[in-house]
């Protein structure tokens, strides 16, 4: 039937039958069929009208409504098929039907909505439709759904800009809803939120400049009202309108708009109103700045800005400096809108502020003024073709003078603002002269060595050095690096004299300064050799150096590596220079010596190696596969064959054989191997992987040194995680499982086997490997192991947390984002079951394991699951383990807020347990317990009142806790309990 074209004689009998079924038979199904047939071309719309024929003239309004409903449904889906001529006829028909019975109107409006979507609408018809609607129908008294249809028709016509003579009517029917005051009913199936309505209405109100003359007075009125939400909505709507208005629309209202905004910003108690007021002022100014003027119109921007200046400038100069901040914020909001506005305001305000700075002598007043100046400096982001056109140019000398004064001031606060201002000035192209730069570097050098109590200034100075060094590498190379090098040497001789190096020595400052300025490739070429030579020299020195000195150098190196990650050339330079050097130092230290040297042992300490691991990892993750392939050959060969030829210093007294019978010191360096191979991109092939994996497995079960066996297990897991699925992966996995089985069975290496199991499980859990579930089950079984139970419980923490050295996303490990949720879903039922089945003495292990899983889970995922865990959680409150306590408290706290009704059943238990825990030895538990005491106040007041006197008495004790953070929670919890059932709360 579909093949029959309309002209080939359509079986209109079928159409007639469908129409009858719909209209008289009151069945909805046929409508779909008619729509489908029209779409496929079986009938034309005209034929549908003909088939409807008599029903459209039926005396019963229900029948007419039904007929028009069918036609409207067809039009809604087929309006794109209509010819212009048909649109005209249909519109005339529908306009006429607007006079019909009120039962018919909804269907008529639907039809008009369909027609309003037609692109082929002849000009003038939109006006005619709107005219007919407003004449024939009282829109405001329609049902909500039908009003919605009318607005849709309006919005559709708006798109074609045909509102013509009906602006005021259109405005009336839409603006009567402004501002939206709507609270969704409970269990609303539509899920419409207040904000949805606000935004939709705003789209309509801000859709045309023609509304301006009606809308702007309304907005001003609402901003001036007392209702916070109305103020916010009005300011935001004004902001939206500025996007399409020009100065013509705004002209008459500018003084009132400014007066309202100014009042709000000066007086409001709400930060939100202030922010929206400033945003609206910004948009207004932007709108005036970009308006295209007709030949005879005057530019309104300058008078508007002058008005703002007029009202704000005197506040900037008042000696007591009241209202300076709101004034400065208003001026900055306007100045940030355009280059012209910025120019106008800056040129008036800057001289004033510069003068004020010198008028005031107190540091805190100067700080306020400089902070305002800084606000204006930050706005200078407009590009100017001509250097001399820049508004700041005329003030250069004065600004520099003032900033340097601030840097030399004794007040840390003023220094801090000075540093920020200096950074902003430096970022202005060609602003600072070479003399200024030299002075800048001197100041920053001095500030980088400030004492411990000026920590914030020092950090800010380091950041500023980094930012400015990228722009002016020459100045820093010439004036700063030589000074730092000298300082470093001085530090070395201090070591030599045996002057201890406290944590915040100049040595440490110097290292931090060196890494801070390594933001430019040319500077890295100077700082990296300095750091490495320094490391070599303290290593060779004859004096005892603590691990912290070497760690400090490593941290500095790592920061340099991080800064190099953006620039491939610098990064490769760093990798090629630093990595072999670190390996050489470590290999040297691991060589057996006739006389044991303290220094060498320092270099092999756990924490020193960990610091080196970070450097090597950071210097490897960003390598391109080609360059990484060059390095991997050398390093694998170093560990498997003892081939030291690529190391800068490679004459060692004996061979390097970490996997054979090398010394225990050599085995420890597997951590460095891990740092490198586990940071490589996934597509870098590791030579002789099979041999390497077997060696790692063997070492992982080595009993003599937990550090080495742990590093080997991690390295194995890291490689396993990245290895592509396939036969080789299965083989590696089988080897690991066999090793674990063998180790867990016998006594001496059970701990090592457990560690290997844990890491391998983690490697598989992260990548959703199918084998992970059997390993997890094995791990869960160990929770009731008398020897390994507590370790297994803590193992769940490792499974759920992010590592820093292996199995990281940064190190290209395969980490699925939802792995925690998945682990939770797959394993929590078994953990709960295991808890109930376990004998009393190992129950805490299950609770702890569970705590670790729950604790790491995102709160939104956890919340819906918590009620089923409630009885377990209440039991866990009595567990003596502080990890379990803390986790339980952090699970219960949101539950108290979200499900107070359920929780009130347990109020007695909760009050008692929380109060007990508020005197726990662990600070975190005390804080958590007090937060829960606070959250308890959300329960229905009648449930709580019997406990009020007891709780208030008990909470007096944590008010005197020795830790401030605990006292703070006690104060807010106790304050809330006082308010319970008390008047005025």
């Amino acid at each position: 039937m579909a093949a029959a074209a309309p002209e080939a004689g359509v079986p209109t009998g079928a159409l007639w039958g469908l129409v009858q079924d719909f209209v008289m038979g009151q069945q909805d199904g046929p409508a779909e069929q008619v729509v489908a047939d029209v779409k496929s071309g079986s009938y034309t719309v005209l034929q549908v009208v003909e088939a409807l024929g008599s029903s459209l003239e039926n005396p019963e309004p229900q029948t007419r409504a039904r007929g028009i409903q069918l036609l409207s449904q067809v039009l809604l889906q087929c309006h794109s098929l209509l010819l212009e001529k048909e649109v005209v006829h249909l519109i005339l028909f529908y306009e006429n039907r607007l006079k019909d019975h009120h039962l018919v109107i909804p269907s008529v409006l639907q039809g008009l909505r369909a027609l309003s979507l037609c692109v082929t609408m002849p000009p003038g018809l939109a006006v005619s439709v709107l005219k007919a609607i407003f004449q024939e129908v009282h829109v405001q008294s329609l049902l909500q759904v039908d009003r919605h249809t009318v607005y849709n028709i309006i919005i559709n016509f708006m798109r074609t800009r045909e509102e013509g003579p009906f602006v005021e009517e259109l405005f009336e029917v839409t603006s009567c809803y402004f501002p939206i005051d709507f609270t969704p009913p409970p269990n609303d199936p539509h899920g419409i939120q207040r904000d949805d309505l606000i935004l939709s209405l705003r789209v309509v109100l801000a859709s045309t400049p023609q509304f301006a003359e009606f809308l702007l007075p309304l907005l001003i009125e609402k901003v001036d009202s007392e209702i916070l939400s109305a103020k916010l909505d009005s300011l935001q709507t004004l902001n939206a309108c500025c996007a399409i208005y020009g100065q013509k629309e705004l002209k008459d209202f500018l003084p009132s708009l400014w007066a309202s905004i100014r009042r709000e910003v000066f007086q409001t108690a709400s930060e939100q109103v202030e922010a929206e007021g400033l945003a609206a002022l910004h948009s207004l100014t932007a709108c005036l700045s970009r308006s295209v003027l007709s030949a005879d119109a005057e530019d309104l921007l300058d008078p508007f800005l002058s008005n703002i200046l007029q009202d704000c400038r005197h506040h900037l100069c008042e000696p007591d400096m009241k209202l300076v901040w709101p004034s400065a914020k208003l001026l900055q909001a306007a100045a940030g809108a355009s280059a012209r506005a910025c120019d106008h305001i800056t040129s008036h305000v800057l001289p004033l502020l510069l003068e004020q700075f010198h008028k005031h002598s107190q540091s805190n007043q100067r700080r306020t003024i400089l902070e305002m100046i800084l606000g204006f400096l930050k706005l200078q982001k407009w590009s100017y073709d001509d250097k001399d056109e820049r508004p700041l140019c005329g003030f250069k000398d004065q600004l520099c003078l003032l900033v340097f004064m601030a840097l030399a001031d004794s007040s840390a606060q003023l220094q801090l603002v000075g540093i920020r201002a200096l950074t902003v000035l430096g970022a202005q192209p060609d602003f600072l002269s070479s003399e200024d730069l030299e002075q800048t570097v001197d100041h920053l050098y001095r500030l980088s060595f400030l004492e411990e109590d000026s920590q914030r200034c020092r950090v800010a100075a380091l950041e500023a050095s980094g930012a400015l060094a990228t722009l002016y590498p020459g100045a820093f190379s010439n004036h700063l690096i030589p000074k730092l090098a000298e300082e470093l040497h001085r530090g070395e001789s201090d070591f030599a004299r045996g002057d201890g190096s406290p944590k915040c020595s100049p040595h440490l400052r110097c290292l931090q300064a060196l890494s801070a300025v390594s933001t430019n490739p040319s500077i890295v070429k100077e700082t990296l050799p300095l750091l490495l030579e320094h490391l070599g020299r303290i290593n060779k020195g004859n004096v005892v150096t603590g691990p912290s000195d070497i760690i400090a150098v490593c941290q500095s190196l790592q920061q340099v590596a991080e800064k190099c990650q953006q620039d491939p050339e610098s990064y490769w330079y760093f990798h090629q220079t630093a990595v072999p050097c670190l390996f050489a130092l470590a290999v040297q230290a691991s060589m057996p010596e006739k006389e044991p040297s303290v220094l060498r042992e320092v270099l092999l300490e756990d924490e020193v190696l960990a610091a080196m691991v970070s450097v090597i990892g950071t210097a490897t993750t960003h390598l391109s596969p080609e360059l990484a392939a060059q390095s991997v050959t050398h390093i694998v060969s170093l560990f498997l064959d003892g081939n030291t030829s690529f190391l800068p210093e490679n004459s060692f007294p004996s061979r390097f054989q970490p996997f054979q019978d090398g010394s225990s010191g050599q085995r420890r360096l597997v951590a460095l191997l891990m740092a490198f191979v586990c940071s490589l991109p996934q597509n870098v092939e590791i030579p002789r992987l099979n041999q390497l994996m077997r060696e790692l497995l063997e070492l992982s079960c080595c009993r003599s040194c937990p550090f080495s066996s742990n590093a080997a297990a991690k390295c194995f897991a890291g490689l396993l995680n990245k290895h592509p699925a396939g036969q080789q992966l299965d083989e590696f996995l089988q080897l690991a499982v066999d090793t674990v089985e063998a180790g867990l069975g016998s006594g001496p290496t059970r701990h090592q086997a457990f560690t290997l199991l844990l890491w391998v499980t983690k490697a598989l859990v992260l990548r959703y490997h199918p084998h992970s579930s059997s390993l997890t089950t094995q791990l869960m079984g160990l929770l009731s192991d008398p020897e390994l139970g507590p370790a297994a419980a803590d193992g769940f923490s490792l499974l759920m947390s992010d590592c820093t050295d292996v199995l990281t996303r940064a190190g290209h490990a395969e980490v699925r984002i939802m792995f925690r949720q998945r682990f939770f879903t797959d394993n929590v039922p078994a953990l709960v079951q295991g808890f109930h089945a376990a004998p009393q003495d190992v129950k805490p292990n299950y609770l702890k394991g569970l705590s670790h899983v729950l604790h790491r889970l995102p709160k939104p995922v956890l919340l819906p699951e918590l009620p089923t865990l409630l009885s377990l959680l209440l039991e866990a409150l009595s567990c003596s383990d502080s990890v379990v306590q803390l986790c339980t408290l952090s699970c219960l706290q949101p539950l108290l807020l979200e499900a107070p009704q359920v929780m009130s059943l347990h109020v007695d238990t909760l009050v008692t347990k929380f109060l007990n825990l508020s005197s726990s030895p662990s600070m975190a538990v005390r804080i958590g317990a007090l937060q829960c005491m606070h959250a308890l106040t959300r329960l229905p007041t009648p449930v709580l009142l019997p406990y009020k006197p007891q709780v208030i008495r008990a909470l007096a004790k944590p008010l005197d806790d020795k830790k401030r953070l605990v006292r703070k929670e006690a104060v807010s919890a106790r304050g809330e309990w006082f308010l319970l059932g008390s008047p005025g709360s």
Binding site: L959, K963, V971, G975, P983, S985
Partner: protein, 165 residues
């Protein structure tokens, strides 16, 4: 005890309709020492100031800090001696709210400080017409207790101490 204090509350006519507004200080940054279980943190002036700076003014939708009624420099505290003294500055010298503000500060401290503390809340010298009388009332334990028995006063104090939504 608040002589004529009821007049301003809710009467719609503000005595000082257009006060100057001061910047709020941010949250106190948490230091490493504060996070260390072992290190005791003494109760210092900033901690006391943090207790009272968020008290709402009885007649403006503003905090005492924003109105500069309380300032950190006007807080004296000694943790070892268990003493605290807070001076507050009414916005205008004839402010009828002065006693009420003082009472709110006092109640906040009573609810928030360990019992061992002896607390003194008074008007900054020379900033209020009836400074002496107000100070005397605030120092009188029995009158403070009696004031809190008064439902209307307790209601206003509680409103001042409620967290602003």
């Amino acid at each position: 005890m608040v002589g004529g204090g009821g007049g301003g509350v809710g009467s719609g006519l503000l005595e000082n309709a257009n006060p100057l507004i001061y910047e709020r200080s941010g949250e106190r940054p948490v230091t490493a020492g504060e996070e260390d279980e072992q290190v005791p943190d003494i109760i210092d002036a900033r901690e006391i100031f943090d207790l009272i700076r968020c008290i709402n003014d009885p007649e403006h939708p503003l905090t005492l800090e924003e109105l500069n009624v309380v300032e950190q420099v006007r807080v004296q505290v000694s943790d070892p001696d268990s003493t605290v003294a807070v001076a507050f500055t009414p916005t205008i010298p004839h402010c009828s709210m002065a006693t009420l503000i003082g009472l709110s500060i006092k109640v906040k401290l009573l609810r928030s400080l360990p019992q061992r503390f002896k607390m003194d809340v008074h008007i900054t010298p020379g900033t209020h017409a009836s400074e002496h009388a107000v100070n005397k009332q605030l120092a009188d334990k029995e009158r403070v207790a009696a004031a809190l028995e008064n439902t209307h006063l307790l209601e206003v104090v509680n409103q001042c101490l409620s967290a602003r939504s």
